[in-house]
């Protein structure tokens, strides 16, 4: 692998032991993936933020690192709201360990935003190289923004954050970003709500696997695209998708719209994902809510009281910037939490059946929370909660 002189110096240990090990990690991963060089990155998003995933040894490794990140870096969601964990019902012992993980990351200069939607907090631009770890954020950054990132593992993303570079392979290279399978829907006009897009993604991800799909016929907005990509990244390994005429790279003259095969998904299959089972809790914000979704939810809950626990998840910065909507939501009895989500928080383990408006949550709730999951639109979630 080719290294520039400064990169070689880092590898030789001239900038300290931690940076040396981080460079070894980038070179090692670059070798595994066949990268010829490194590429500078604009930002990083690091996974392995929950104590539940990294455990005692991951924490110890983090605590032993001594360097500062070279680019703006945030974390993936953790197991609890940093301020409101008691109210969430998170055990004190877990909270203490989670705090230790957060402290270890903060010492490295990482901003304590724990979110799957870093793109709402700072501008991420078309064509920028990134090292992001969270699968739904990777799908959004690549597909909706046209930035370039592979799906990083936790240590790989952290190494990229500290060195400010990542191995140049996979989705960093334009020729690897062309579609490899077409997806058509028999009745595209019937796909309207974010939950419809989540359900479509839930079905499509299983068909697509790790290929790059090109959708045609559908007209999603940005929140819809977020839902679609997150679901496909959960039931498949989709890190990039295109929607003809909508996503930025599909409009490039160099875009190759000819695909070897096109699969048609029937609306009947998408509708089968929806059910009407009884639930004992509702959770929205997977991925974390956008300001627009927060406003919509506030409107739907206006003047109503929830009769079942209603969890709302969003980035700390989005909550801070939309206080009025948050207050309107909480007046209904619903709770808006930062830093965490339905998938990673142990607080939702106590429920048997959870209603969500997300195809990603639908895929993960059964294994991560041990609960049955039901998907519905935001309106349906509010109707079930307030009935």
């Amino acid at each position: 692998m080719f290294l520039e002189s400064e990169e070689q110096q880092i590898l030789n240990g001239e900038f300290g032991e931690t940076r040396q090990q981080m460079m070894e990690l980038l070179v090692g991963l670059g070798t595994v993936f066949g990268a010829e060089r490194l590429v500078p990155i604009a930002s990083a998003q690091v996974s392995g933020a929950s104590y539940k995933t990294i455990g005692r040894w991951g924490l110890e490794w983090l605590q032993g690192l001594d360097a500062r990140v070279a680019v703006p870096t945030v974390l993936n969601p953790i197991g609890m709201d940093r301020d409101r964990w008691r109210e969430m019902g998170v055990p004190e012992e877990f909270a203490g360990k989670q705090e230790a993980v957060i402290d270890a990351y903060e010492r490295l200069g990482i901003r304590l935003e724990c979110t799957c939607t870093p793109y709402y907090l700072s501008n991420t631009h078309y064509g920028e190289h990134l090292a992001w770890a969270e699968s739904s954020a990777v799908a959004y950054a690549n597909s909706v923004i046209g930035a370039r990132t592979n799906r990083e593992g936790g240590p790989g993303a952290l190494a990229a954050a500290i060195v400010g570079r990542t191995p140049y392979y996979g989705l960093h290279i334009f020729k690897n970003r062309q579609p490899s399978i077409g997806i058509a829907v028999d009745d595209p006009a019937a796909i309207k709500d974010a939950a419809d897009y989540g359900a479509l993604g839930y079905v499509a991800g299983k068909i697509v696997g790790n290929r790059i799909p090109l959708f045609s016929g559908i007209r999603p907005n940005r929140d819809h695209l977020k839902a679609l990509g997150a679901a496909m990244a959960a039931t498949g390994a989709v890190a990039l998708y295109h929607v003809a005429g909508i996503t930025p790279e599909s409009r490039l003259p160099t875009f190759k719209a000819e695909v070897p095969e096109t699969v048609e998904i029937r609306m009947a299959e998408v509708r089968e994902v929806f059910s009407s089972i009884e639930v004992d809790a509702i959770a929205v914000g997977c991925p974390h809510l956008s300001p627009a979704e927060m406003e919509t939810l506030a409107g739907l809950l206006e003047g109503k009281k929830v009769k079942k626990p209603f969890f709302v998840f969003a980035a700390r910065g989005v909550i801070a910037g939309n206080r009025a909507a948050v207050e309107r939501i909480e007046r209904s009895g619903a709770r808006v939490y930062a830093d965490t989500c339905v998938v990673v928080s142990p607080a939702l383990d106590r429920f048997d059946a959870i209603m969500v408006n997300s195809g990603k949550a639908l895929a993960y709730v059964p294994t991560m929370c041990g609960a049955v999951a039901r998907i519905g639109t935001m309106e349906e979630c509010v109707a079930v909660a307030t009935a």
């Binding site: 090692g28 991963l29 990294i54 005692r56 040894w57 593992g153």
Partner: protein
């Protein structure tokens, strides 16, 4: 005898060879306290990888496996070196953060060496060698 390969994690080590034909998940497949393989149905179940030159095809399972390799090193139960047929990110990451020399893509298959034969992995030179 010497076989060339590709260095993944730097350093060199000598130890008794342990060869597995089956891939391995370190998370829930290896006990981080003892270094013993505990994966159900694994051909080497019950064997310790501690201090051995551990050759196996590739890693599988959760990415948390990287931290298990680190835990093994902290507990003094890590393999002395790792030889993979094809390195993948979980094992490569684990070997680098645990400072275990690692090599992959040997140019010739390891011959059937007698159990416990001492071999040397030099990941900087990209070689595996032993006395005939």
């Amino acid at each position: 005898m010497i076989i060339k390969g590709r260095g993944i994690a730097r350093g060199s080590a000598t130890g008794a060879l342990l060869v597995s034909d089956a891939p391995l998940s370190f998370l829930s497949g290896v006990d981080p306290e003892s270094g013993v393989i505990i994966e159900e149905g694994h051909p080497l179940k019950g064997e310790s990888i501690a201090g051995r030159i551990f050759a196996f095809p590739y890693g599988k399972g959760s990415t948390v496996g990287s931290y298990v390799i680190y835990a093994l090193a902290r507990n003094g139960k890590a393999p002395a070196a790792i030889i993979n047929r094809e390195a993948e990110p979980i094992i490569a990451t684990g070997a680098i953060i645990a400072k275990i020399p690692m090599i992959d893509r040997l140019e010739a298959p390891l011959p059937a060496l007698k159990g416990g034969t001492e071999v040397t992995v030099d990941a900087d030179a990209g070689t595996v060698s032993w006395q005939e």
